[in-house]
Symmetry: C2
Subunit: 137 residues, 2 copies
């Protein structure tokens, strides 16, 4: 669906603009200093704005091809759950972005879950390649 | 958290009662005839009330130990996303129940996603054992 961003909480509207425009330049300013990123792969969260932005950028580079779309949006209070579908390498990936923001409208918690198992395994491989490339590891 | 069920939509309140009481007897009546279950493991949904009830029962038997608790609840319209934590065999499992109900208040779509990868692999094994036992396979 095309998100109707008019009546959305501001942080959620800004996240949708980042995804729609494939433009990550506003990402850092949207994150709280103590933002945490919880990946679908690893238990331990990534802590802090810089590392959260790095992981979200890598996730965007892996996931945001032309087939990416949000298909369900559940929002209440300062929490949003955005369900997405995307096809990569012939595999359909179904996931959720679970986004929470603080009272200042900065995202302080971003969690991603993915199904089915085959999709997680693919994303695991892609993220590893992406992060290895970006850190020169 | 202990869910405050007073102001909840009826199907959601009934789901919480099933989980709280570990009593699946009301499950069949809560599901729509055309209910679908989407597992964290397999792409293809399970279709129909009987098979959905079977998968949800197996999932409850695997997941509902004493450490199970819901930690975030995002509800709007006829959709709810309930985030849970549970520890099984020393592994912390973080997941969501994504529940949608129809205009008659029957659940017609139930999707589960789980993170991290290690937790999915554990649940994959447990569910396989459970379903094999219940079908005599």
């Amino acid at each position: 669906m095309d998100a109707d961003t008019n009546n959305m909480p501001t942080p959620l509207r800004r996240w949708h603009e980042i995804v729609r425009d494939r433009d990550l330049s506003g990402l850092h300013g949207l994150l709280a200093e103590d933002a945490r990123f919880h990946s679908p792969i690893v238990h331990r969260p990534q802590v802090g704005r810089v590392v959260t932005a790095m992981y979200l950028s890598a996730a965007c580079q892996v996931l945001l091809n032309d087939s990416f779309r949000y298909v369900r949006e559940v929002v209440s209070g300062r929490n949003a759950v955005l369900e997405f579908l995307v096809e990569i390498d012939g595999i359909e990936i179904n996931g959720v972005d679970m986004i929470r923001w603080n009272e200042s409208g900065r995202i302080d918690d971003f969690k991603v879950m993915i199904r089915p198992l085959k999709a997680i395994e693919l994303i695991h491989r892609k993220m590893r390649e992406m992060l290895a490339a970006s850190t020169g590891a």
